[in-house]
Amino acid sequence: MSGFSETMGIAASGMQSQTERLRLLSENIANADTPGYRRKTASFEPYAANTMPEGSVQLGRVQLDQTDLTTIFDPSHPMAGPEGSYDGSNVDLVVEIADAREAQRSYEANLRVFDQVRQMSSALSDLLRR
């Protein structure tokens, strides 16, 4: 017998992971113009500790995207090298926005499940009334 609270816990773990992912995204977007910044990425993985119900999800270790940094030509910039250019970040705003949309969509789906389960459990407790 799987309890409703367990199901809600799973949906909550999904929402939490999507929130953390959105946090990383906003760090990336905020640092889009920081010289030498590498975008942070993290992958979803099954929840390891057994404090959460089976089937929960968590965000894995944060990794730095190792693609090449963009080279920006600006001889007047304080960090410009002898050839007049410096390393920018490797954040691609289009990718970040697309990722943010996906995070939002998944978050809403988790929320819908949470609400659905809540309705089911309140319908069940309605049986006890009268």
């Binding site: 799987s2 409703f4 999904g14 992971s17 979803f44 089937g55 789906a109 389960v117 089911m120």
Partner: protein, 115 residues
Amino acid sequence: MFEPLEIFDLAAARARHAATRQNVVAQNIANADTPGYRAQSIAAFDDIYRRLGPDGLNSADFSRTFDAKTPLSPNGNSVSLELEMVASVDAQRAHSRALNVYQSALNILRTSIGR
């Protein structure tokens, strides 16, 4: 004096099945962005009922999951949020239907004892 009433077992088992299905849906949706995760599903209630019959329902374990075999996305994940939404609403409706059956059976029982 107190005969076991089959309709209560049936309605309770149906509600239990819907709750288990909802649990699996929650797992799928939570893992909608986990690379390599395969969407899971459980056997339909009518299949289980046909296999076990009315007597087996009480102890039936619905939680055995299997790969739902939906198409993979490039990261090896096979969860379709749309299909899961449908399954979730489906489970919720099945659950409330089962509870309604339980409730009206209860009402009939109450009426029959004159309360």
